[in-house]
Point group: C2
Chain length 192, copies 2
């Protein structure tokens, strides 16, 4: 029944595929690049992962779950403002980590729109909680603010791909924080 065991570590190969997709994006990554990065021949790749699209989906799911864990960790902070600051700070550092490709696969890859919407939704939920906790102004438009934050994160990812440094991204993050508790100026003055 049981035949010859596979000669490579599936998880390690998946990780290598993720890094390649991360570095060059879905369309620009050829199967030849993947097999080279994974140390696997094409038939093994297709036997283990189906096809290029499914390999990408599996790899991007790993990536997505990592991202969600980081966001959940930040969301656990006591105030919405602190949570947002943490997400922005983490992102600035992660996007320029020399140990990984620049930028963020989830924010850069066109076909991961659904994951971006999930991220947006999580941010909005945390902001809504912040409004209930009264650490954000009651008049805060959390929809706009969440979309704004995703846009900033995405912009940071693009800047990182263009060669921005950690300090550049931290500057963007710090500037973006200026928009977080100031959606309604009357409330801001009162609230402070």
């Amino acid at each position: 029944m049981a035949g010859r065991p596979r000669s490579f570590d599936r998880d390690a190969a998946l990780g290598a595929a993720l890094e390649q997709f991360w570095r060059t994006g879905y369309e620009e990554t050829s199967v030849a690049m993947l097999t080279s990065a994974m140390g696997v021949t094409p038939p093994s790749l297709y036997a283990a992962f189906g096809d290029k699209r499914r390999l990408f989906e599996e790899a991007s799911t790993v990536y997505f779950q990592r991202t969600c864990e980081a966001v959940d960790l930040a969301a656990a902070l006591p105030s919405a403002r602190a949570a947002v600051a943490r997400v922005l700070d983490d992102t600035a550092r992660a996007h320029t980590d020399p140990a990984t490709p620049a930028g963020c696969l989830m924010l850069t890859e066109p076909r991961l729109e659904a994951q971006r919407e999930v991220l947006r939704r999580r941010l909005k939920d945390r902001l809504d909680q912040g409004v209930r906790d009264r650490d954000l102004a009651a008049s805060t438009n959390t929809d706009h603010l969440a979309s704004f934050l995703v846009a900033v994160l995405r912009g940071m990812s693009g800047s990182a791909r263009d060669g921005a440094t950690t300090e550049d991204l931290l500057g963007i993050a710090e500037t973006a924080m200026g928009a977080v508790h100031q959606v309604d100026r009357a409330d801001r003055v009162v609230g402070d």
Copy 2:
């Protein structure tokens, strides 16, 4: 000396190429897609524009000049804050204009990094002028603010490609404005 005249309008063909590049990006746009969009056969394309890369450069230069004109128009507004608001508002509308592809070629295409840097520089110059005019706080970090604005514009472009509406982008733009004159909170309170 003069041989057979070309049978197509070069500028019109260039415009069609621009739209195709705008819609699908450089790498994802094949020469076959270009010839189809331009109504021209491959040899005519190569005779008139050199090769795919040079055609892209010519088309993106047209696009870049249009963008610069719009930014210069906004920069002519009396206050830096008004200029930034205008750029954000224009961008929100342009990125969702049904007459053109969603998003912005200059902000989305990886190989147009140099143009993004020029845009960033123009924004920074206008912000510096705003500091000199005292309509921005003296402590404003115009480098960070300019990088932030490019990141937001870029995020808006990506959101538009994901299907965001004009209203979505206007919400992002409005939220981003909250970060413009609030870089230093002490100055903000005094200044208002």
